[in-house]
Homo-oligomer: 433 residues x 2
């Protein structure tokens, strides 16, 4: 790919950008921030700063006119996501040019804000949120807790299994998680009780942001499905396992999931991630071939994302002692059985329409071993085996005061490392129990 914004030797004049481990000029993610008490406005993270894109819009000139027109204070990034991909690429190129040419330093500098003086907001008004289940090692591990002989259900290797989540309760990193209450069936009982969840868990996922949408009644073919993904964030699909076990038959998870979904604040663009696309992991020889509507040669060769994710836990005791979070797992998105393009093609094969601002969760991304389990449910073997943390505390599920911190990155020899920022949330006790 010949693209100026992938020039790895380009020098960015913004302080801290030259050797930044998350936000070099090759990243240029999109987000929504406010400085002080200002209205939230579109921004990008560059080096040690946040750049106000609404303020900068007049400087973008004719090279990114479509994007400049939607970079307004007060509005979430749905307008930017609704533009054709080419318009977002023009914006990226215009920003890259401004930030790598010293001649623009004086004009651009007034729009740089120190992150410490800013607040990050949910970047998009989430339209519909769909959560998939494409992490096969998670599906196997969770299935094995219920059906040791036959962990994967018969449809798993044919269907990118997914379900509708709750859009209203998606929040940006940092939003506290009020421990949910609900109906729980105590072990050995036949009548449920109502109380705070005692099996509260995280799930390590990616969130794919839909750019251009589609029309009701018209499927998106696999060959163009990837173009509908505008960018990627980290996603924590918080789950209450005890609520889920009692409620989920026959219509799936509901209150076990819809009390909060956390995303990282920056949308890492498809363009920034282009160098980190890779082949789908090889299927086992007895795995079925994808059905034709899910099969595309280019997607098989380069449809997966080589994105690393680490999840860590900081208990209240650690926070008080000033201890760093204990890493609980490190995984990589190539463990997903289905690519984002396959997920999009499946979601629309029946004519379901997608829209700019839709969020698609990948499903929990686990490694096949204990190095990178994407949930405590897996690590603790369904709560039967406690996990020991760095300070000697143990956990089967989350306790009040625990903070779950996810970080993500893409790296590859010869390329600048691209960071995702943080997706974090701390559990606070339920006021009713």
């Amino acid at each position: 790919m010949i693209d100026a914004t992938h020039d790895q030797s380009a020098h960015c004049w913004v302080p801290g950008a030259a050797d930044h481990r998350e936000f070099p000029v090759q990243n240029l993610p999109f987000g929504l921030f406010s400085a002080g008490s200002d209205t939230p406005r579109p921004g990008t993270a560059i080096g040690d700063f946040i750049l106000d894109l609404a303020g900068l819009a007049p400087l973008l000139g004719t090279h990114a006119a479509q994007a400049a027109a939607v970079l307004q204070p007060g509005a979430p990034l749905n307008g930017l996501l609704a533009l054709p991909p080419q318009a977002r690429r023009e914006l990226r190129h215009a920003l890259f040019a401004l930030l790598t040419d010293d001649a623009h330093r004086d004009a651009v500098t007034p729009f740089l804000h120190p992150p410490a003086e800013c607040r990050l907001h949910l970047p998009v008004s989430v339209r519909d949120y769909t959560d998939f289940y494409a992490g096969i090692h998670h599906a196997r591990a969770v299935g094995a807790l219920l059906r040791p002989e036959n962990p994967l259900l018969p449809n798993y290797q044919y269907i990118p299994v997914g379900y509708h989540g709750r859009a209203s309760s998606v929040r940006v990193s940092g939003h506290p998680l009020v421990r949910p209450q609900g109906q729980i069936l105590p072990p050995g009982e036949t009548k449920p009780v109502v109380g705070p969840s005692r099996r509260l868990d995280y799930e390590v996922e990616l969130g794919f942001w839909i750019g251009g949408g589609s029309t009701l009644g018209t499927p998106i073919p696999i060959g163009s499905a990837g173009e509908h993904i505008a960018g990627v964030s980290l996603l924590n699909d918080w789950s209450a396992r005890d609520l889920q076990a009692w409620e989920y038959v026959p219509l799936g998870p509901f209150l076990a999931k819809n009390f909060l979904t956390t995303v990282s604040p920056w949308i890492i663009t498809a363009e920034a991630l282009a160098p980190f696309r890779t082949a789908q992991p090889a299927r086992a020889s007895d795995d079925p071939a994808p059905l034709p509507y899910l099969l595309d040669e280019r997607d098989q060769q380069s449809g997966a994302y080589d994105i690393g994710i680490e999840v860590a836990l900081q208990t209240a005791q650690m926070a008080q002692a000033g201890d760093a979070p204990t890493p609980l797992g490190r995984t990589v998105a190539t463990h997903l059985y289905w690519t984002p393009a396959q997920i999009v093609a499946h979601h629309t094969v029946n004519g379901c329409d997608l829209a700019a601002g839709d969020l698609l969760g990948s499903g929990t991304i686990s490694t096949p071993d204990d190095d990178g389990r994407g949930s405590l449910m897996e690590l603790s073997r369904g709560g039967r085996q406690a996990v020991t943390l760095a300070n000697g505390e143990t956990r089967t599920f989350l306790e009040d005061g625990d903070e779950v911190v996810m970080t993500g990155w893409a790296e590859r020899d010869g390329y600048r490392r691209i960071g995702f920022g943080t997706c974090a949330g701390r559990v606070i006790g339920n006021p009713n129990g």
Copy 2:
């Protein structure tokens, strides 16, 4: 209840209103219409006309100032739903006063439009859509097809079972249904094929529109949950049974449902329906009592809606011959096992937030006998027993060209009949097969 808008002897001067079977002045539903090529605008149905509420807003004066401010052309009714219930009641009272006093005839008449010159639109930009499963006779009948010995699952009489649906594919009555395609497991096979659904069905439901929302982390108590329902429409939860059977384990229905959900155009307000509230049907002596968060004396006594619904089918052959649709069932919403207030209290018990413009489907409302089955799945015993229509045609599931027409009403001695209008949609063939 002493409320001027329930004066059954009030005379409305609008032509056709005095003896209208759907839209007397005691109804005054809210909808979105356009006359000719105008921008869609809020309206109400009164007698033989649609009244332009945006045009009328300046005449509403100080009695309904909050509502008048949001009755703008171009916007869906989310703003009206977001107002406190009292503001919608003031609007209702102001309209009732204008329409029952001859002195206002000349001023109001210019804002009346003949429906034949108007188009009705989806009244609300649907935020989140949740579909419940509260029709116990439907749950029993469908459960019996799979588990004759034990049709109801253990959680059914404790939990108002529900799942998240797709908000983007909700459409107003009249929108055509493109027969969805998807993965289908042929009987006796282990590998799925892809093709158009052959087991396409309707589901007779009510849709409850959420007015005032709630805050993430804060449950809505059962005692005030009913106040969050601003109004009710008819809802057809179109379903592809063959897609559903293969995809729904373990995360619930997805592509089997999200290709289209149809609602009737008018929101029949909670105020118009107040005289038709009634007690929940008596539980059987061995039914469990609702858990405390679902139990409220007033809700038990008057939380259910006495709303009748008829579903009818007009095939292409009938339409060509000019034959009326064949009625397939007539049911009543008191067959719902849970009240709307119980559904709202359950939805939020874990802290999930609701917002103005959310849509809650009731679940399929069937009678315990064949007079009012809410789906073909039930009528045809899972497709094993064809239904004979008035012209001799037979159906197990829907065929191309079939139109499903739902109508609804509330009636009671001493009260004017309130109509819901129509919720209809015709199946068109899948272009791929």
